[in-house]
C-alpha cells in the first residue's frame, strides 16, 4: 500500500529520523519545516497523510490544519506533537484531525495510525466519486 506522507515539524532531528524510518519501509515521505512550506508542497504535489506538529515558529499547527482542510479536505492529518494541551486537542479534532498523538511515539504504532488515516482517505474518496 504505497501512500504518500508529508511530515511537518521544525525539530530537524526528529524529522530526519522519521523520514529515514518511513523511507526504510519504502513509503514515500517528504519533510517540511514549517506551515507555509507544507501548504506550498501540498498545493504542488499529492499527499495522502500529513503528520503535523503543533508548535512551530510562524504559523502554528492549528492554523496550518485549518488552511489544509480548506484547500485539501480529503487529506488526512495526524497531529504528532509534544504539546499536550487538551484545548488544542479538542480544537484539532473538531477541525478534522484523524488523531492527536503525543511524542514520543513508537514508530510501528505511528505507522499503523498512518495506514488507518490513509484508509479513511480512500473511503472518503470512494464515497465522493460515487
Amino acid at each position: 500500500m504505497a501512500f504518500r506522507v508529508l511530515a511537518v515539524d521544525d525539530e530537524t532531528d526528529f524529522i530526519e529520523t522519521l523520514v529515514k524510518r518511513f523511507t526504510f519501509r519504502q513509503i514515500p515521505v517528504t519533510a517540511a519545516g514549517n506551515g507555509p512550506e507544507a501548504l506550498a508542497l501540498l498545493d504542488r504535489e499529492a499527499f495522502d497523510v500529513v503528520l503535523l506538529d503543533m508548535r512551530m515558529p510562524g504559523m502554528d499547527g492549528l492554523t496550518v490544519l485549518k488552511e489544509l482542510k480548506k484547500r485539501h479536505p480529503l487529506v488526512e492529518v495526524i497531529i504528532l506533537t509534544g504539546h499536550a494541551s487538551i484545548e488544542a486537542g479538542m480544537q484539532g479534532m473538531s477541525l478534522g484531525a484523524y488523531d492527536y498523538v503525543l511524542k514520543p511515539v513508537d514508530f510501528e504504532e505511528l505507522l499503523e495510525k498512518t495506514r488507518k488515516a490513509y484508509e479513511r482517505k480512500k473511503l472518503n474518496e470512494a464515497r465522493n466519486t460515487a
Binding site: A84, S85, I86, G89, D99, Y100, L102, K116, R120
Partner: protein, 306 residues
C-alpha cells in the same frame, strides 16, 4: 435581525444605590461626628448597614446580568451555528435559481422560434441552436451545484472503519492524562481483553471520548481517579468513563445533554460539548447515557452496535 432588548421600564432603578445610599451613609457619618457617642455609634452602624446592603444588592444584580449575557451568548452561538448550516445549504439551493432562470428563457425562445414553423429565418434557426447549447451549459452548472449540496450533506455522514476499540480511545486518554496528572487525578484503564473490533467513524468517536474524559477531569478533585473502561454487552460494545467527582444531581440529570446546560461558572465552558457528543453518538448508531450518585461520582457510557 435586531436582538431583543429588555424594556428599561422593568429594570429596577439604580438611584437608590448611586444616590440615596451614599447620601444617607454620608449624612449619618457627618451627624455621628457631632452627635453624642451613643447616637454616634448607632449612626455609624446605620451607615455601615446602608453601604453593605447596597453593595450586596448591586453585586447580585451584576451577577444576574452576567449570567443572562452568558446565556444569550450561548443561544447566539448555537443559533449562529445552525444558521450557518442553514444559510450554507439555502445559499447553495438559491444558486440553482440562476441557471434555471436562464434555461427557462432559452426554452421560451426556442419554443417561439419553433412555433414559427417553416417561416423562421436562418438567423432564428441559429438562435435556436445557440439556445439549446446554452441550456446544455446551464444544466451542467446545475449538476455542479447539486453536487456541492450533496458533498456538504455527505460531510455529515460518518465514515466507517474497523478498528480495535482500545486503539480508538487510548490516544485521547494519553492526552488528557498529562493534564490530569498535573491536577493529581489519575486515569485508570480497564480495557476488556479479546473484544472484537468496532466499525465506526474513528475520529468522531475520539472527539466524544475526549469530551467525556475532559469533563471527568474537571469534575474530579485532586487525588481522585477516572476509570476508562471497555467491555462487551451482548451485541453492543461499551465505553465507560467513570469519575469520582461531585456527581450529577437528580435535578440536573434530565438536562445534561441539553445544548446550553452547564454547571460551570459563567464564562467557563460553553455547555455544548455533551450535547454535541450525544448527537455524534446517535449519528454513529449508538447511545450516550449517564448515571450518577451525587457526591460520589458519575459514569458516562457510550454504547455502540457491533
Amino acid at each position: 435581525m435586531k436582538p431583543e432588548t429588555r424594556p428599561d421600564v422593568h429594570a429596577p432603578p439604580l438611584w437608590p444605590h448611586t444616590l440615596l445610599a451614599p447620601v444617607l451613609a454620608g449624612a449619618a457619618v457627618l451627624l455621628a461626628l457631632i452627635a453624642p457617642p451613643v447616637i454616634g455609634f448607632i449612626l455609624a452602624l446605620f451607615a455601615g448597614a446602608v453601604c453593605i446592603g447596597s453593595a450586596l444588592i448591586l453585586a447580585r444584580r451584576v451577577r444576574q446580568g452576567e449570567q443572562e449575557v452568558h446565556e444569550l451568548d450561548l443561544r447566539l452561538l448555537q443559533s449562529q451555528k445552525l444558521a450557518a448550516i442553514g444559510e450554507l445549504s439555502s445559499g447553495i439551493a438559491h444558486e440553482i435559481n440562476n441557471p434555471l432562470a436562464i434555461i427557462t428563457q432559452e426554452l421560451d425562445l426556442v419554443r417561439e422560434i419553433a412555433g414559427e414553423g417553416p417561416d423562421c429565418s436562418a438567423a432564428d434557426r441559429a438562435e435556436s441552436r445557440d439556445s439549446l447549447r446554452e441550456i446544455g451549459k446551464q444544466v451542467d452548472r446545475c449538476r455542479q451545484i447539486t453536487h456541492k449540496l450533496l458533498n456538504f450533506a455527505r460531510k455529515m455522514e460518518p465514515v466507517l472503519q474497523e478498528e480495535a476499540l482500545d486503539q480508538v480511545i487510548e490516544d485521547m486518554a494519553l492526552l488528557v492524562e498529562r493534564e490530569a496528572l498535573g491536577r493529581g487525578v489519575s486515569i485508570v484503564r480497564d480495557y476488556a481483553p479479546g473484544l472484537p473490533p468496532i466499525c465506526t467513524d474513528v475520529p468522531l468517536l475520539r472527539q466524544v471520548i475526549l469530551n467525556l474524559l475532559t469533563n471527568a477531569m474537571h469534575a474530579t478533585p485532586e487525588g481522585g481517579a477516572i476509570t476508562l473502561g471497555t467491555r462487551r454487552d451482548n451485541d453492543k460494545l461499551l465505553i465507560e468513563v467513570r469519575d469520582t467527582g461531585c456527581g450529577i444531581t437528580p435535578a440536573n440529570m434530565p438536562k445534561i445533554f441539553d445544548p446550553f446546560f452547564t454547571t460551570k461558572e459563567p464564562g467557563k465552558g460553553t455547555g455544548l460539548g455533551l450535547s454535541l457528543s450525544h448527537g455524534i453518538v446517535a449519528r454513529l448508531g449508538g447511545t450516550l447515557t449517564a448515571t450518577s450518585t451525587p457526591g460520589k461520582g458519575a459514569t458516562f457510557t457510550v454504547s455502540l452496535p457491533l
